[in-house]
């Protein structure tokens, strides 16, 4: 437990001690703010201010999702790739600590940053609620969806970062498949009709959509948790591979 806390603190310190997180946060908030503004304009002008879940929050959450997907690779790319490049991983793994603790601490540190980013968007609905009150509960579902989606993306990014010593490659290989998945679910017509049910079942975004309209389905929750657990498991196997691959 002490090792987990020590590593978590070190990770958070290097996150918040580097300019990258602030740059990502600035861009993230600028984009989400822009989307909130334009979606609100749409809601008032074309949605006539009715059905706020469908006509406003659904749009906002779907847009925030896209920005989140682009932000996560920038946060996860350094987790293991940097340690591999610096060579600090070898020393880190010689301390009397299980690999699982190392992975958990890094994963947790990135989730803290993710939570901070999401929390920073709370003033948008808070401001709207002050101007025009609306039911808050469905909004919680939306944020839970973003958090679950983000957790799965972070786990995937963690896995990719453990596979390479190049941060750029880690970031690229994290972002590209996420974008592809998004494109496939966004432009379903482009998929072969036979493949469509598979794409729908696998795509993270079809599992995310119910959250945006205030629906929490246990299947969707488990889907994301299962996905995250799978990538964390894969990350552990990659670290273990050093034992027989003889690679740093």
């Amino acid at each position: 437990m002490r090792a987990f806390v020590a590593l978590l603190r070190k990770e958070l310190r290097s996150y918040f001690g580097s300019p990258l997180v602030y740059a990502v946060a600035a861009v993230f908030l600028a984009y989400t703010g822009y989307y909130f503004h334009t979606d609100l304009v749409y809601f008032v002008t074309f949605g006539f201010g009715v059905a706020i879940m469908e006509n406003l929050w659904q749009l906002v959450f779907l847009d925030v999702r896209l920005v989140l997907m682009l932000a996560v690779p920038l946060l996860t790319m350094r987790l293991f790739a940097e340690e591999r490049r610096l060579g600090t991983l070898e020393l880190l793994l010689t301390y009397p600590v299980r690999d699982g603790v190392v992975v958990a601490a890094k994963f947790a540190a990135c989730l803290v940053v993710l939570l901070t980013l999401l929390a920073a968007t709370l003033p948008y609905p808070a401001w709207l609620h002050a101007v025009q009150p609306f039911p808050l509960e469905p909004l919680l579902a939306g944020y839970l969806g973003l958090l679950l989606l983000g957790t799965a993306c972070v786990a995937y990014g963690l896995f990719v970062s453990a596979c390479t010593d190049s941060q750029v490659l880690a970031g690229f290989l994290t972002a590209m498949p996420l974008l592809l998945l998004w494109l496939l679910s966004w432009n379903e017509a482009a998929s072969a009709s036979g493949a469509l049910p598979i794409v729908r079942a696998v795509s993270m975004f079809n599992h995310f959509q119910p959250f945006t309209v205030g629906v929490i389905d246990a299947r969707d929750v488990f889907y994301f948790l299962f996905l995250a657990a799978g990538f964390v498991w894969a990350t552990l196997r990659v670290l273990e591979a050093r034992q027989w691959r003889g690679r740093r």
Binding site: V5, A6, L7, S14, L86, T88, T94, P96, V97
Partner: protein, 290 residues
Amino acid sequence: MSFTVPRGEVAGLLGPNGSGKSTVMRCLIGFFSPTGGRVRVAGIDVGADPLEARRHLGYLPEQVTLYPDLPVRRYLEFVAGMKGIGGAARRSVVDDVIAQCGLGAVAGKLNGKLSKGYRQRVGLAQALIGDPPVLVLDEPTVGLDPVQTVELRSLLRELRGRTVLLSTHVLAEASALCRRIVILDRGRVVAEDTPEGLARRVEGLGRLVVRVDGPPEQVAQALRAIPGVEEVTAEAADEGPGRLFVIRAADPEPVQRRLAATIVGGGWTLLEARMRTPTLEELFVRAVGR
């Protein structure tokens, strides 16, 4: 390969580059699993209980890699946390290693701004945190300047009481620091002995060297005439008068006794006489067979 370092002994692992020193060390720390055989640290099987083995072990890797964005003290506190030391104990443990490794002056500096000598000391300090009974040091003085090397060696000498395995390819370092030397080549132990024992093995390689001012041909002839002398070769003296003669003798002592009388009796001047002892380098080349 099989060798044992008894408790409290400092042993040196020697070998040319690529002989397997670092691999052996990485097996010891549990970073690699051996493809066969067993590794025990402080009596604990590394394969069966790697965490318990690592608790008894401090490791300094060949390339000391530190987080460049952490100050030295914070980094050492982080390592203490990773080794399960928390609270007030952490402060005192870190203070101790900072004092022990002479890091007081740089404790607030970023790791990334340290000189190589200090980086190596920080590396040693992190290995010493938690007071492990066994230390594994992979080429601790490689890349240091002479002053830093001397300083680090005296630091290593102060580690008495611990079991230390250090790897190096500097033979002088191994014979100065270690009570036992294991020589590796291509993944095999080719020699294992004390420095004195290894020196004894090369005694037959000893040579007598004299510098004589006199006609070279005649001097060489007179030297060859001494009973017990096997071979005499003349070398040009690098500086000063006279010439150097290198004498090989299986048993040098009787030759030594008659050397001066022979030279002076011939009417020549004896300028210098010494024993050229074989270096561990020569032994090393012999043992490795290259």
